[in-house]
Amino acid sequence: MLAQQLLNGLVVSGVYALFSLGFTLVFGIQRILNLAHGAIFMTGAMVAYYTVSAGGPLWLGFVLAILASGILSVIVELVCFRRLRKTGDEEFGGIISSIGAGLVITTIAQQVSSTQILRFPFETFPVVIYRFWGLRVSMLQLFMAGAAIVLVLVLGYFIYRTSFGRRVRAVTDNEHASMLMGINPNMIYAQTYFVAGALAGAAGVLVGLAFNSISFVMGEPYLMFAFAIIILGGLGSIPGALLASLVFGMVQTLTIAYLPSGLTDTIIFAALFLILLVRPNGILGKDDAGSLRGRR
């Protein structure tokens, strides 16, 4: 059933793309690795769950999840990174600070959910299976793939076709020069973090629906996988992250299907390690993994 596995892998890839794009977008613009990104993803899933369990429709849960994750992401930027960027210690400090933010968010979620695994009520998403050419695909899978494609296209449109995108890319290239051109980088950062958080939140809802299992620790493995994805794609590269998500989703699905269970993570992270050695800048990344450091 290789074709079936590839189809499943494709759906998984979409979720990874949503998660990793925000992660890599933030790194690209600020050289900051936001380790609270997994917690923001989890928040999306939780908000959708509580909306639905309070009687709201799923679409409302989806919208609220995207808004809440986006806003949370902006708050993380304000609280954790803004001051560090001024002192120039964002590379080391940013990692510490965002680990802190991740801890705060997940612990609060743990208390709110009483350390329980939460499940959407039955048929929150209609269970419909389509069959064609001997393949099975559920309506949920179609929805996931569709949502991922639409959101990625929207992001691509914004980054490459609008003035917002031009400003983001200007700030990414050179914060100082873009300030001279009258761009307010803080505004751009806030918007970028909102988009990054919103994408992660959407991914959180999709994962919550797909596995019908939402818990406060659900972000951690995705954060780890995102490491592998953005390294493979090249830190900060959007097309790289997309391509790497696809590769990663496929490889993961196939290793789970065809190799002894339990070895999957080992293989993935050993591969990540190897990529770092052989091509630390990824498939499409810029050259900055090696070289002598300046003051730190």
């Binding site: 990692i95 600070s97 680990i99 801890l103 999957t264 990540l272 770092l276 002598l292 300046g294």
Partner: protein, 288 residues
């Protein structure tokens, strides 16, 4: 009275073990390597010692020795690829290393006990041995700091180009810092194994990484007092505020954010620098 003290013995033991791990994290940061591998290196030491005891029935002294050597060997091997990477990439590579350790550990069930862990390790290490090890570790870190290695580490951490221009080999010194970090992690991991009866792979995962990193960030990463103070505060604080027990990790998290933003040198180093500045001020000369 003795009952009162006895009640705090487990806390003291935890402090002594974690102090050793904090030094392991401290020394790599000190040498300018952004490695987060201490948790996995401690796991390697602990499992080596545990397997020596449970599967091979060896004497604990041999187990501790083997754990230390294994931790150090793993660190040296790891330092070779890390030397080619910088900053964030080192952090990611070492986090991947931890993931590999945990997942391989779970997979290698016949040897490691898998997800159920390794059980029935005879308890042979008490507070006395832990205290001796912790004091020895503190002494070594202090000695390193005062000598040529400490000076070279300082130069590398602050400006690699300057260090190299003065003849300091960055690769050699960082490998040495790594070896020391691995030996410390291996040693205290092994002691943990003989102290705790049982080991569980997830105990050496992301959570331990954060805990140990917090000690060093809070206390300070440029003097031997830093980890001593940081570890003490973070172990005692939750005991003083038991009503906050459920929110313990919120306290850790908030503290990481506040300290790195507002007191980036950590408590001990900030106090030390303030004392020094005060002393210079009293001498009443203006350097500028």
């Amino acid at each position: 009275m003795s009952g009162f003290i006895a009640g705090y013995i487990p806390l003291l033991d935890l402090y002594l073990i974690h102090l050793g791990l904090a030094f392991s994290q401290y020394i790599v940061l000190r040498a300018g390597v952004f490695s987060l591998a201490t948790a996995a290196l401690a796991g390697i030491g602990a499992y080596t010692a545990g397997i020596f005891a449970v599967k091979l029935g060896m004497h604990p002294v041999l187990g501790v020795l083997a754990g230390t050597v294994m931790g150090m060997a793993a660190a040296i091997v790891l330092s070779i690829p890390l030397a080619r990477l910088r900053g964030v990439y080192q952090a990611i590579a070492t986090v991947a290393f931890i993931q590999i350790f945990v997942s391989l550990n779970i997979y290698a069930e016949p040897i490691t006990g898998g997800a159920l862990g390794l059980n029935g390790i005879p308890k042979t290490v008490g507070t006395g041995i832990l205290a001796i090890a912790a004091i020895a570790a503190t002494y070594v870190i202090w000695a390193v700091e005062r000598g040529r290695l400490g000076r070279a580490f300082n130069a590398i951490r602050q400006d690699e180009a300057v260090a190299a221009s003065l003849g300091i080999s960055i690769v050699r010194h960082q490998m040495l810092a790594f070896a020391l970090s691995g030996a410390l992690a291996g040693l205290f991991g092994a002691l943990e194994a003989y102290h705790a009866y049982a080991l569980d792979p997830n105990q050496f995962g992301f959570h331990l990484l954060i805990t140990v990193l917090s000690y060093v960030i809070l206390g300070g990463r440029n003097s031997v007092i830093g980890p001593v103070v940081g570890t003490a505060i973070l172990i005692i604080l939750p005991e003083l505020a038991r009503f906050l027990a459920e929110y313990r990790m919120v306290i850790y998290g908030a503290m990481l954010i506040i300290v790195i933003n507002y007191m980036p040198k950590g408590i001990a180093d900030t106090v030390r620098d303030a004392v020094r500045a005060g002393r210079l001020k009293r001498r009443g000369e203006d350097p500028a």
